[in-house]
Structures are given as structure tokens and as C-alpha cells.
């Protein structure tokens, strides 16, 4: 599979700019709701039309504003998994699948049977969609997409309508579907966990602007921009100014920090993940006397808002295990927090 996308579309409050190439991989678009990520999928599927640009799937031009090519959704062979699954309510599961299967009646019957079996729907074949649970409906929607012989799988927030346990079950099941696509799919999500677990590469979209794609693990480890940092779940970000090659001033935190790498000129922000802070009992580099502003107990950890003693800077969120927090309470004397230089993310605008 090879999908090349380069499109522009004016949306209500911003311009959507999406440029990327996805190959045999799960490619994720990570963004807040309303950032244009679903619109990107809709443009690929042909449900929406971009203002300009080009979309090529496996060498087939689906859309090209320059050549006036704009294939109908029917001609594109792109499978789209809708958030609400969009099964036809007037048809049973079997009829839903048969309705979209192509070929001779014998071919259709074979596709219906094969996909009912593949997704464990044989028992539910004659039920109507509304008689099925969310998870069963999603399996039926997958069965229907596979029966239609789509070349590409688009997943639009596939698990957002579900909660907790069921969500996890379906995430595990998605693996089966991806196998049929040789592991290739486009995933759109606002859930960083989902993106981290499911995708090979990912790109962040914010306000319609798509940032260059990175390997997913790399994106989470070392996000390059403010938007990527926030979307990958970093809670601590401060405006920052370069002091010299090895130091930045985090202006909102009121801290001077040494960095592990050379500070790029374009650095406007620094970030640090809440669980990378360390507790110290003596001062040192990147180590400051600690003032606790607020303590919040979470399910498996404590969230402690801290700042430099005597400063009026914005508190930093620090996440530490319940045991660590309790043992820190036993300590005598002044405590210090330490931000390891290698945990500091230097961010562009």
C-alpha cells in the first residue's frame, strides 16, 4: 500500500494543510477535536472535496486539482470505519455485508460467509444492527468493509464512542482486521494512548496544520513542537529563552535549566513530562528547593504541584507513585526537585 496525500482545504476558522505519505504501516493522525483530522480522512474517502492538491493510492490518482480528477467515493475503494459504524439500520448483518459485496451471486455469498466467520458474527447474521452491542456493531462494520474489497482502511476515532473495558477488547481485535490489510491503515485519534499502542508512524495536526510525521515512539520521546508536546500528553510546558548553548531560562517556571543537548536557536518552549521529575535532598544542577502548592491523589499515583521555593512561577505537575510520595513525607529538612537534563524537551513554536 502506498498513499500520497497533499491537500489544502479552507475550513471555517483555519486552513487545513495535510501532506504525508503512508506505506505498509499504521499511520496515525493525532489531534484535538476539530483540528481537521477527520476532514483529512473524509477528503481521502471522497466524502469531502479539498480545495486543491493531490491524493494518490497505489499509483491511482483519486484526486488531483491540477488535472481536474476527482473520483467518486464509489470509484476510490477506500474503506471508512465511521465512529458510529453506520450500518444500514434496515438490513440484517448478513444483508449489510451482501449489499456491498461485489461479483457474481456465488462470489457474494462466499464473501458474506467468509467475513461472518472471520469476525465471529455467524450467530448474529440475521440480527438487525440495533440489536447488537457497540463492539458487535464494530465487528460487523469491519466485516462489511472487508467484503467490499477496499484497498485502504481509514479508522475515524474507532474507539472513542466506547468506554473502558470494551474499548480495550476492540483495540485487541483491531489487530485481526489489520492483518487483512497487511497491517496498513490510517488512524485518526485524539487519544495519545491509542496512537502510541496502535501506530507505527504518527503526525500531529493542530489548527489544520499537519507537522512532519515521525516514528510514533520517537514522536512521544522527543516531540519537536509545542502542539506535539501537548498532544502527546505532556502536562508541563513553559515559555523559554535560550541563554547559551547549554542553558535555557524557563520563564513561566522561573527556573534556569541545563540541557543535555545543544539548545537550538528556535527554542521557544521547554517541556518535561510529569513523571520524570526526581526528588533530591541536596541542591545541585537543575535542582531547586521545593514548595508544594497542591497535592491531588490520583488512582495509582499522587499529582503534586510544585515550584521553586519563594518563587511566583507557574507550578510544575509532578506525578509520583503513592509509595514514593509517602516516603518523601518522612524526610527531614528541605527537599529539592530535580529535572534531569535529558528529560527536558526543547520545543519550537
Amino acid at each position: 500500500m502506498e498513499l500520497i496525500v497533499s491537500i489544502r482545504k479552507q475550513l471555517r476558522s483555519f486552513m487545513l494543510k495535510a501532506d504525508f505519505t503512508a506505506r505498509d504501516e499504521v499511520f496515525a493522525l493525532l489531534g484535538a477535536s476539530g483540528c481537521g483530522k477527520s476532514m483529512t480522512l473524509k477528503c481521502i474517502a471522497g466524502i469531502e472535496t479539498p480545495d486543491s492538491g493531490r491524493i494518490v493510492l497505489n499509483g491511482r490518482v483519486l484526486y488531483d486539482s491540477g488535472q481536474d480528477i476527482n473520483l467518486s467515493p464509489q470509484q476510490r475503494h477506500v474503506g471508512y470505519l465511521f465512529q458510529n459504524y453506520a450500518l444500514f439500520p434496515n438490513m440484517t448483518i448478513r444483508e449489510n455485508i451482501r449489499f456491498v459485496a461485489g461479483g457474481t451471486p456465488a462470489d457474494k455469498e462466499e464473501k458474506v460467509q467468509a467475513n461472518l466467520v472471520r469476525f465471529g458474527l455467524t450467530e448474529l447474521a440475521d440480527a438487525y444492527p440495533r440489536e447488537l452491542s457497540g463492539g458487535q456493531q464494530q465487528r460487523a462494520a469491519f466485516a462489511r468493509i472487508l467484503a467490499a474489497d477496499s484497498e485502504l482502511l481509514l479508522l475515524d476515532e474507532p474507539f472513542s464512542a466506547l468506554d473502558g473495558y470494551l474499548k480495550w477488547q476492540l483495540e485487541l481485535e483491531l489487530g485481526k482486521v489489520l492483518q487483512a490489510y497487511h497491517g496498513a491503515a490510517l488512524l485518526v485519534s485524539h487519544d495519545r494512548g491509542e496512537v502510541y499502542r496502535l501506530s507505527d508512524r504518527a503526525a500531529v495536526i493542530s489548527q489544520g496544520c499537519m507537522e512532519p510525521a515521525q516514528m510514533t515512539k520517537e514522536l512521544f520521546r522527543q516531540p519537536q513542537t509545542l502542539a506535539a508536546t501537548l498532544l502527546t500528553g505532556c502536562k508541563n510546558v513553559s515559555a523559554a529563552r535560550k541563554l547559551d548553548d547549554g542553558h535555557v531560562q524557563a520563564t513561566e517556571w522561573d527556573l534556569m535549566l541545563a540541557t543535555a543537548v545543544e539548545v537550538p536557536k528556535a527554542t521557544h518552549y521547554v517541556g518535561v513530562r510529569a513523571h520524570f521529575l526526581e526528588l533530591r535532598t541536596a541542591p545541585g544542577e537543575n535542582t531547586y528547593p521545593l514548595e508544594v502548592v497542591q497535592v491531588i491523589e490520583d488512582v495509582f499515583s499522587y499529582l503534586v504541584m510544585v515550584r521553586k521555593l519563594g518563587s511566583t512561577g507557574r507550578p510544575i505537575r509532578w506525578e509520583l507513585s503513592k509509595a514514593d510520595w509517602k516516603s518523601s513525607q518522612q524526610q527531614q529538612g528541605q527537599l529539592y526537585f530535580h529535572i534531569p537534563p535529558e528529560a527536558i524537551m526543547l520545543l519550537q513554536e
Binding site: A45, Y80, A86, L87, F88, M91, F99, S150
Partner: protein, 223 residues
């Protein structure tokens, strides 16, 4: 009791409903898909529903009467619409079309757009989507529109009497027969026809409700 008003009413209302049914669904689909001028198109189609029927009848006379360009064009083949059975059908269509159009449009707009998008991305042709997805899933609305426009056509009076007249045995329907009977002080006859209309309308609306309740069992989006 001369039965011709009953037969003429059923024939004109029946013929008008056939036209209204297809035209109303067609217009509903057309307007639903419009981007610009949607409000204007909707207003024009809805207008006959809110105007006094006499105004509708007057405009029909004006645009399709013997002195209109359409009327003169038809006269070349010795066809005249005014005061004919066909005129009664046209009058009934004009006033019942908005009902069919509006209920069908409402039903189409209530459909989840994603089921149509899904059908398209899965390669289903527009024609098959229309017959197998749109119409079945909007069928309560379409049925309601069908019955409403039929009962409206059944009771049509104002536009009919202006455009088709009140010729016994030719264009006299039940509602114009009631008017004529009252004019002639024959209250018994007027009462009989009034009762027939009430019974017919009641039966059709009851049938509609039963039909919709039954068809909703298998597949409704909203419950």
C-alpha cells in the same frame, strides 16, 4: 344519492397522490442536496400550503387557463384544462405537494448522513442507495407524507372550485358537493358527504399510524 362525487373525488385524489408522491420525493431529495437557494426553493414549494386555496386556484387559472400562453398552446390540439377532471387533479397536486415534500424532506434530513457516506465508500451506486438505503430508512416519513397528501387531496375545495369548477358528474367532488348542497339548502345531503369525508380521512390516518408503528419494528434509527 348520486355517487359520482365520491368516485370523482377518489379518482382525482388517487391520480393527484401518484403525481405528488414521486414529485414530492424528487423535490425533497433535490432541495436536501442544494447548497445555495435552499431556503428560496423550499419557500416556493411550500407556498401553496400556506396560501389561501383560492389564490392557488386563481394562479392556476392565470397560468394554465385559456388565455394563458400554456392554455393557448394546448388549444392548438383542442385541449382545454379548465373545468375538466384533469384540472381537479392539477389543483389537488398543487395543494398536496407541499405536504409530501415537507414530510419526505424531514425524513431524509433525519437520516444519519454517515450511512449514506458509508454506502458510497463501500461502492454502492447512487441508484441502489436511493432505493435500498434512503427510501427504506425514511419510510415512516414517506408513508406519513403519502397519507397526508392523499387526505389533503381528498378534501381539496378552494383551488378545485376555482380551476375545475363544480360540474356535477364531471368535476364535482365531495367537498364541492357539500358546498353545492348547502347552497341549495339540502343539509341532509351535505351531512352525508361530510360524514363520508370524515370517515375516509379518519380511516386513512389510522391506517397510516398503524402502518408506521408496524414498519418501525424492524428498523428504526431513532428508538
Amino acid at each position: 344519492m348520486e355517487l359520482s362525487p365520491l368516485i370523482i373525488t377518489l379518482e382525482t385524489a388517487g391520480a393527484a397522490t401518484v403525481v405528488t408522491f414521486f414529485a414530492g420525493i424528487g423535490l425533497a431529495l433535490l432541495v436536501v442536496r442544494m447548497n445555495r437557494f435552499k431556503g428560496l426553493a423550499d419557500a416556493i414549494i411550500t407556498l401553496p400550503m400556506v396560501l389561501p386555496p383560492t389564490v392557488v386556484g386563481f394562479f392556476l387559472l392565470l397560468f394554465l387557463g385559456k388565455r394563458s400562453s400554456v392554455g393557448r398552446f394546448l388549444l392548438q390540439w383542442d385541449i382545454s384544462l379548465v373545468f375538466t377532471w384533469q384540472a381537479a387533479v392539477i389543483a389537488a397536486v398543487a395543494v398536496s405537494l407541499p405536504l409530501m415534500y415537507r414530510t419526505a424532506r424531514g425524513a431524509f434530513e433525519q437520516l444519519d448522513p454517515n450511512i449514506i457516506h458509508a454506502a458510497r465508500t463501500l461502492g454502492v451506486s447512487e441508484w441502489r442507495i436511493f432505493w435500498h438505503v434512503l427510501v427504506p430508512n425514511a419510510r415512516s416519513g414517506i408513508l406519513a407524507g403519502l397519507v397526508l397528501s392523499f387526505t389533503r387531496a381528498l378534501g381539496e375545495f378552494g383551488a378545485t372550485i376555482m380551476f375545475a369548477g363544480n360540474i356535477p358528474g364531471k368535476t364535482q367532488t365531495m367537498s364541492t358537493a357539500i358546498y353545492a348542497a348547502v347552497q341549495a339548502n339540502d343539509y341532509d345531503l351535505a351531512f352525508d358527504w361530510a360524514l363520508v369525508i370524515v370517515v375516509f380521512s379518519l380511516v386513512f390516518v389510522l391506517l397510516m399510524n398503524w402502518w408506521i408503528a408496524r414498519s418501525n419494528k424492524g428498523a428504526a434509527i431513532w428508538n
